[in-house]
């Protein structure tokens, strides 16, 4: 093997060229990592939102809570079903909820987006793991008070602590901020069920009911029971299934991400090939000497491929490092199922990292292959004569 330091030092000798190539690759990796960081964050949010023992009950045929209507009496019958878990105090974990979409101004820019305002009872917190108040206090029932997730507080005007949120002309005071383990719940503002019903002239209307089952068997049994009863006109979905459906929202971002990644990688391949061709050309005599000394073609090929890889990996590393400060940064996109904004954070998990590394490896190998092949095809006699 030709020692790697030969390649590294050669890269250092042509440092301007190497640096330009590294920066070029780094920028490409950065763009790709950011885009996939978006998709990964979105998927992660929807993935952690689904709890296997939880059921979401909606009107038959509805695919989202925002499209579902259940009347109060039917909702009450749900609470009487067998198999619902209870909390420590003996309350049934059955949460009737009213979802209203409010078009609200974003803090950034001059745009509006649909925000989910959820009317709940105390049971709602119990069927969502990791739900906790991080600032202020819980809202009192019967008054126009609301609590917002920290992400929504940062994203929407009027959703910050002690601010007033306008709900179709009625002001709701934000008295607390909550977090819920990065789940989709963090894209919502919560208030009292009855108050929201009155404010929006939807008294007695429920959008959906969330149930927690005692066991997986109970969950299955209840789901079958609810969905098969013609009188209810309802269907029950397990939460993971419900959110898996919504994960389609990330398809667009992923498609754009793949598009950007593929195109920019092709551009990067040409750039790397240029740099490596120049490297091979300027080192023709060195290559001839190595061959005369008895290094075979394959060794030369591998050596130049490694050099190209080193170049790209350095760029990849730089690009990933540059993306790190954005990890956890909050952003949002449309959830096309609920037709409202879904807040999530950039996430550079293992998937994104593996993707970035494979990207630079592919670029390095393809971009380096043809120059390296040229190096191996040089006639020793001619190469030695090169100036």
């Amino acid at each position: 093997m030709i020692p790697l330091k030969y390649n590294i030092r050669s890269l250092r000798t042509r440092w301007v060229s190497s640096l330009m190539t590294i920066i070029g690759t780094a920028l490409v990796v950065w763009a790709v990592v950011l885009t996939f960081g978006l998709a990964d964050g979105l998927d992660h949010t929807l993935e952690v939102s689904g709890e296997p023992l939880d059921l979401i009950v909606m009107r038959k045929g509805a695919t989202a809570e925002t499209n579902s209507i259940i009347n109060e009496s039917t909702a009450r019958e749900m609470a009487a079903l067998d198999g619902i878990a209870s909390d420590a105090a003996g309350n049934k974990l059955c949460s009737p909820e009213l979802v209203v979409v409010v078009n609200t101004a974003r803090r950034a820019g001059d745009t509006n987006a649909n925000m989910i305002l959820r009317g709940v009872t105390p049971a709602a917190k119990e069927v969502r793991s990791n739900f906790h108040i991080v600032a202020g206090r819980e809202n009192k029932p019967g008054v126009r008070e609301a609590i917002a997730s920290t992400q929504m507080a940062n994203r929407f005007k009027g959703a910050g602590l002690d601010e007033e949120l306008d709900v179709f002309g009625a002001p709701f005071k934000i008295v607390g901020l909550f977090e819920a383990g990065h789940s989709a719940t963090e894209s919502e503002v919560w208030t009292d069920l009855e108050v929201l019903g009155q404010t929006t002239k939807r008294e007695g209307v429920r959008s959906a009911i969330q149930l927690r089952a005692n066991s997986a068997d109970d969950a299955q049994r209840m789901a079958d029971r609810i969905s098969s009863d013609e009188q209810f006109g309802l269907s029950a979905l397990s939460e993971p299934v419900y959110f898996a459906e919504q994960a389609k929202s990330s398809r667009g971002i992923k498609a754009i991400g793949v598009f950007i990644a593929v195109i920019l990688s092709i551009g990067a391949v040409f750039a790397v090939a240029n740099t490596m061709y120049a490297a091979v050309a300027s080192r023709a005599r060195e290559i001839g000497t190595l061959r005369a000394l008895g290094f075979n073609r394959r060794t030369i090929l591998i050596s130049f491929l490694l050099e190209s890889l080193a170049l790209c990996l350095a760029g990849g590393l730089l690009g990933c490092l540059a993306a790190l400060p954005l990890n956890g940064m909050s952003t949002g996109t449309a959830n096309w199922v609920t037709f409202s904004e879904l807040a999530f954070t950039f996430r550079f998990g293992p998937t994104v990292q593996i993707l970035a590394v494979s990207l630079v490896v592919v670029v390095g190998v393809i971009g380096g292959l043809f120059p390296a092949l040229r190096a191996t095809r040089m006639k020793i006699v001619d190469a030695l004569r090169e100036v």
Binding site: T111, F270, A271, W336
Partner: protein
């Protein structure tokens, strides 16, 4: 420019390198062109919609709230209104479709007066107006799904708790760039089904599409419509069709900022890549540059020659990328990606010009440092230098 032949000769000197640099710029600017086309196309279509003089009315609280059907007749009598139709998004599922295509309940007698850019054969239109369960579909979607006049299709309700059984009575066509993938059917048919199933959603017009008598009358008309319903049970928000389209783009998140950031990254990467290629070319030509200066070329001319060479390569590359984007989307169907606004994708001329300017700027920026260094080459050192 008497130096042009020499510059072009230099561009061709290392053909592979020039081709690679050009291709790198081509594919990357292809990406930038496509991304910007998305934004510019929305703007252009919005502006284009202005001449149709259409005002869209939604519930003040947003799209998920109802607009009473009685509003339509009230608007009809207002001054400056040519005609008005209800337009309710059905969002039903056809066969195994994952993402619903556009299906609207509307007024068969007037909808093609509001959407005057579409044409339907007179016999098909009169059939549609007589057939309560009839529908008219766009030319593109009919071709894609191999529908012909007389076919029966079933749409399963998602938002609405009813299923539609429709007969295709006609196929509409329209000018290039218009949306030919919609389905229009009779609002009374939907309302009847909803009343039968005692749904609370009966009597909801969804939105109102209003054709004003002239575009100039729109601002005043919108104000009067808003005022007319401000104190009613269901206040509305009137906006231009352009603003209505914008609302959907905004829902995706801050697309413009995202696209601008990607473009900045790409341009920065390309400046590195192209600059590196120029620097490599000139390093191999140091002796030649020294000769030029020895025979009396001024620094300024040397500098200009190099800059123009860099610009020529970048502009050729940019042109390829821009044309590729333009032609690709003329012959591809983008509706399968399933993001609203992508179904009739095209690259506006303004985007093409913008990308070409970017290419020239990249060329200029990439040439500056190599050109400056070439201008600094000392004749004595340059002539002595052996790579």
């Amino acid at each position: 420019m008497k130096f042009l032949p020499y510059i072009l000769r230099n561009v061709q000197r290392n053909k592979l390198r020039s081709v690679f640099t050009g291709l790198s710029i081509a594919v990357s600017l292809f990406l930038v062109t496509v991304l910007y086309a998305y934004v510019n196309m929305q703007d252009e279509m919005g502006e284009g919609a202005l001449k149709y003089a259409r005002v869209v009315c939604t519930a003040k609280q947003g799209l998920t709230f109802p607009v009473p059907i009685a509003h339509v007749d009230k608007v009809k009598g207002m001054e400056g209104v040519k005609t008005v139709v209800p337009l309710a998004w059905f969002g039903g599922k056809y066969k195994d479709d994952k993402i619903p295509f556009a299906q609207f309940a509307t007024d068969p007698d007037h909808c093609f007066e509001v959407f005057a850019e579409f044409t339907v054969p007179p016999d098909q239109l009169s059939n549609f107006q007589k057939d309560r369960t009839g529908c008219i579909v766009g030319e593109k979607i009919a071709r894609k799904r191999q529908w012909k006049v007389g076919d029966k299709i079933v749409l399963k309700g998602d938002i609405y708790p009813v299923n539609l059984e429709l007969t295709i009575d006609g196929i509409y066509t329209g000018p290039a760039g218009s949306d030919l993938e919609m389905l229009f059917y009779d609002y009374t048919y939907l309302d009847e089904l909803l009343k039968q199933s005692r749904s609370q959603m009966a009597g909801n017009a969804g939105t109102m599409f209003i054709k004003a008598q002239t575009p100039e009358m729109m601002p005043d008309l919108m104000q009067r419509i808003n005022a007319r319903f401000a104190n009613s049970e269901a206040p509305v928000r009137a906006m231009t069709e352009q603003a209505f389209r914008q609302m959907f783009t905004e829902m995706l998140g801050n697309i413009r900022v995202f696209i601008r950031n990607i473009a900045i990254i790409v341009v920065a990467a390309l400046v590195c890549v192209a600059g590196n290629a120029m620097a490599m070319s000139l390093r191999e030509r140091t002796r030649e540059v020294a000769v030029l200066k020895a025979i009396g070329f001024s620094r300024f001319i040397v500098l200009t020659l190099v800059l123009i060479e860099a610009i020529v390569i970048a502009v050729i590359g940019g042109f390829l990328g821009v044309m590729a984007a333009r032609l690709l989307f003329q012959f591809t169907d983008m509706s399968m990606i399933g993001i609203p606004g992508f179904s009739s994708f095209y690259v506006p001329v303004s985007t093409m010009l913008f990308s070409m300017l970017l290419a020239a700027a990249i060329g200029l920026a990439s040439g500056i440092i190599p050109a400056w260094r070439a201008a600094q080459v000392s004749v004595v050192d340059g002539l002595r230098k052996v790579v």
